[in-house]
Symmetry: C2
Subunit: 265 residues, 2 copies
Amino acid sequence: MPYVQRGGVNIYYETYGQGFPLVFLHPFSTNGYIWYFQTFSFARTNQCVVIDERGHGRSDKPQQGYAIKEMAADVIAVLDELKLNRAIFVGNSIGGMLVMQLNLDYPERVAGNVIVSSGTNLGAGMPAEAKAAFQQNAEATFGALIEGAIAAKTKRERPEILDLMKAQFAVEGNFPRYVFNAAGADPGGVFNWDITSRLKEIRKPTLVLAGEEDQATTVAANKLLADNIPGAQLRVVKEVGHFYQLEKPAEFNQELRQFINRVAA
Amino acid sequence: MPYVQRGGVNIYYETYGQGFPLVFLHPFSTNGYIWYFQTFSFARTNQCVVIDERGHGRSDKPQQGYAIKEMAADVIAVLDELKLNRAIFVGNSIGGMLVMQLNLDYPERVAGNVIVSSGTNLGAGMPAEAKAAFQQNAEATFGALIEGAIAAKTKRERPEILDLMKAQFAVEGNFPRYVFNAAGADPGGVFNWDITSRLKEIRKPTLVLAGEEDQATTVAANKLLADNIPGAQLRVVKEVGHFYQLEKPAEFNQELRQFINRVAA
């Protein structure tokens, strides 16, 4: 059964293929399906591990416990279960936060990092009105946020992506509203997590991929990461928003392949 | 745990949402992921059930037992487990064959059918050379087959879909070669299954969606279904191949929504 239990919480994962391990960590309110165009493609040459983070998709959804540190520990529990020593971690948005936290808490497990549209201390940039709007009508507010997070070309040519993102937020069986609230309020959770002063401790090869049209985690938010992680490379991707791996999967895969060849060769 | 066991075979399924049930059945060599752009979108209004057919993805992969009739019985086992009386069945390719078989064996469980790029007696149209080529180099032969099954526009604008389809076939953890061989050789399996003379027994509202550029299950193969299923409607979709739901998800979803409104209202 593709679950590992940690502290009473069942974490869902899937694994395909053999070779140097890649671990994929999805954005807030989504699930492991977002790596559909990576999982099987890379499983021809690598062991791909896709995890549903606690509170999401097929994993358990406790009432509390959504500190980034907790969620990163879940990832290590999956690695331990699979007896994987080291991996390249690929994380989008909150998934990128987990990647950074893994570098602080378990650096010996990390071979390299691909951080896709992420940031730290994101709540500080959020106006009080936005927080109030989320309290009043979470679904509509999230819908507006996500519209600004997807590139114009994507919305024109792949309208299903905007619809999917809104749907994943709306479907309680995937992402219950209480998880959104608990994670948002957690002092170490998605909006309050701040490792700005510790980014310099991340010492593994790191590629930061920022979508030029992403208004959720802006280019500036991603540049802050790349500027402070020693040796990190920043790539700003045109005509992409918050979800590079889904908005332009073929290009993303090429870029990820190059990174793997560099780091895991 | 999202499995139901039938005759010692664990069948993986997921379910999201409430409302009139929709059951999604994927093509040969793929898995339930292919409904990514439907599952969450429709879960806002319907109970969506996505199944990995035996031999595929997260389900068990026995050495033998790939008759369409067996695989259809697995679907009923999932419905029984979920205590679902009736559903609209949406099946692509071999998934469409399961839908037709369900109509013959369990008509009382069927509210309506959406058959996406499918057919019956498909092996009869396959030249002996093609069968020999599959024996010699399955991966390359499948690759050529799948190239002809995807629309030119899709290959140009969404090259990740061709890559994904080749990868799902190549990754043994998703679809082992012995499953391909066992299903291909089964007298009631994917290539030998022939219900041409029984299509007239299918009595539920049926929509057949054929991709105009699909060389795997041609427009003619799909027209044969629509011509022989009483009252069935055929829609030939331009610039689409074998995977309408993935090649043009937004258009597909609109069409599926209309069908649901007509049948389940």
